[in-house]
């Protein structure tokens, strides 16, 4: 946050150059993310030793600690990092696109589409696989793309800026519609399937191996390549679309890229781990409190902090009631819900 003016009366700010702020942010949040990803796999039902994990003198086949670290726990931690980073980044981009700090990656209806796809396959079966993607993630990707395409088609008109109010309304409506369909499918399904769909809706980072992560990686990489070009345009877009246009921003193109990028990111995250709520809103707001609101800082910082945040939440999820595991979506919501309310009270 900026320094309160009351402590600096009539003194021109001596701002820290953006390059230095960016470097410091990347170092701090990057360091935190790496540390979290290296420390989280150490914690679990079987205690393992960090030095033993990285002890090169023991062959991997004999090093049980390293096997637990890399094979049993690391995929889950990495899934948390990827999902946390994509949801937080998508949240930042959507909040700027919609000029609404309360938007989340799920505002677009993409996640409800993904959920419907996943739940249809869970309830009615399906055996299609594509590379490392099994039927459920594949169906949720399909559902996400269908939902994204519907919202996109409604909100855009050739040669004109995107209507962010239609984007918001279409997303919210689609969310409600798909949620109703999901309830209907659950109601029609038998108890086992209904439980499985319920469990899927709570979010789960236990992906089992690196395969599913690799499967969604192309989408995640595409999303982040798109995001990389956006931050300074998002700054201006969040000030106003006319201002942005007259400062040299191609408003229509920026809006389309922001939408497509966040839809890809959300689809990838939801297909990998189910709809994990609150990451996309809590993380950007926490980061803004710490770094200020410049998107060139907030976007990378949120991605890195989102990774740390979700890995940490998942650590809580699998240890707090061990051996019983709390769904990670429940943990993020229980942390995120009260925080969100606090933000609203603070805004009021």
């Amino acid at each position: 946050m900026t320094v309160s003016e009351s402590t600096l009366p009539r003194v021109a700010a001596r701002p820290r150059p953006i390059r230095m702020r960016l470097a410091m942010t990347l170092a701090a949040y990057g360091g935190l993310a790496i540390a979290t990803c290296l420390l989280a796999p150490l914690v679990g039902s079987t205690p393992i030793s960090f030095t033993r994990v990285f002890d090169r003198s023991i062959p991997f086949v004999d090093n049980v600690d390293a096997q637990i670290f890399f094979v049993a726990r690391m995929p889950r931690v990495l899934a948390g990092a990827v999902v946390g980073a994509t949801l937080a980044a998508a949240g930042v981009v959507l909040q700027a696109l919609l000029r609404n700090p309360l938007a989340t990656p799920f505002t677009l209806g993409v996640s409800a589409g993904a959920a419907l796809g996943a739940i249809l396959v869970i309830s009615f079966g399906g055996a299609l696989t594509l590379g490392p993607l099994s039927p459920v993630p594949l169906a949720s990707l399909g559902g996400a793309f269908v939902a994204g395409a519907i919202v996109y088609a409604l909100a855009t008109r050739p040669g004109r800026a995107m209507s962010t109010s239609i984007l918001l309304l279409a997303g919210v409506t689609l969310n409600a519609f798909f949620s109703a369909l999901i309830l209907f499918v659950q109601y029609m399904a038998d108890f086992t399937d209904a439980y499985r769909t319920l469990r899927w809706m709570m979010g789960d980072l236990d992906v089992g191996s690196f395969g599913p992560i690799v499967g969604t990686l192309p989408l995640v990489v595409m999303a982040f390549l798109i995001f990389a070009a956006l931050p300074s345009s998002l700054n201006l877009l969040s000030v106003g679309s006319d201002i942005a246009a007259t400062r040299g921003v191609d408003v229509g193109r920026t809006q389309r890229l922001a939408f497509v990028g966040s839809a890809l990111a959300t689809s990838a995250a939801v297909s990998l781990a189910g709809p994990i709520g609150f990451v996309g809103i809590v993380v950007p707001h926490l980061v803004r409190l710490m770094t200020g609101v410049d998107h060139r800082i907030v976007l990378p910082a949120s991605a890195l902090f989102g990774a740390s945040f979700l890995v940490a939440c998942d650590l809580v999820a699998r240890t707090i009631l061990a051996p019983v595991e709390v769904p990670v979506g429940v943990v993020t919501a229980m942390l995120g819900g009260p925080f969100f309310l606090w933000l609203l009270i603070r805004r009021g």
Partner: protein, 265 residues
Amino acid sequence: MSLTVEHVSFKYDAHHAAGAFALHDVSVAVQRGSLTGLLGPNGCGKTTLLRLMAGVLQPDQGEVALNGRSLRGIPRRELARQVAVVPQETHPAFDYSVLEMTLMGRHPHLGVFELEGPDDIAIAQDSLAATGTAHLASRPYATLSGGEKQRVVIASALAQSPDVLLLDEPTASLDLAYQLEVAALMARLNRDRGVTMVLATHDLNLAASLCDSLVLLRAGRVLAQGPTRGVLTGALVQQLYNVEADVRFHEAAGHLTVVPIRRSP
């Protein structure tokens, strides 16, 4: 530098009220270094004309040209280095600082992945100084008063280093003191920096005190245009607003003043 609008017609599409805010065959020539006022009743097309001049909208017919070059052929960033806009009100969705808001004016001068350097910061601080807001640089924009906000947005537009500044009712939401303050600022920037300005306003006395030429718009057409003294007359004010007004030179103020008397029957 000259900005010309030649036989421009424009209509918003069917989603807007039929014919509202449309322009019909409008021609305006803004001379280099001039301060031109756009006057007219609500819905006459002032803002639309400004948005066409800024290249935000494209005319259906006719052409807007900068130095004889059609805006259609000028890339967005290049245009933004020459023409800057100050909207009526600016409400950022996030809590940017005054300096951050001002630095956004450097956007058209930077590459996609380029971050602003010391030169850009110097230009931003110079723009803040020119608008008397340098001491506010580290303040969150949202905490400023209306007049301070408007001066910061003008500073942000100045940071674009433009030749032309388009202002849409920049004093509309300000009290009398701030109106005078912003008016003085505009006069100073026009005089000292040679910035050509086009100003849409409802404030006839502001236009009379500031502008060297006026364009009167009614129902999307040019009713009259020319030097302020020639155009700001009781007869034209009556035609423009349907209001009888007393227009006379005010010795103390040093410019024409307009006192509305009554609505014409």
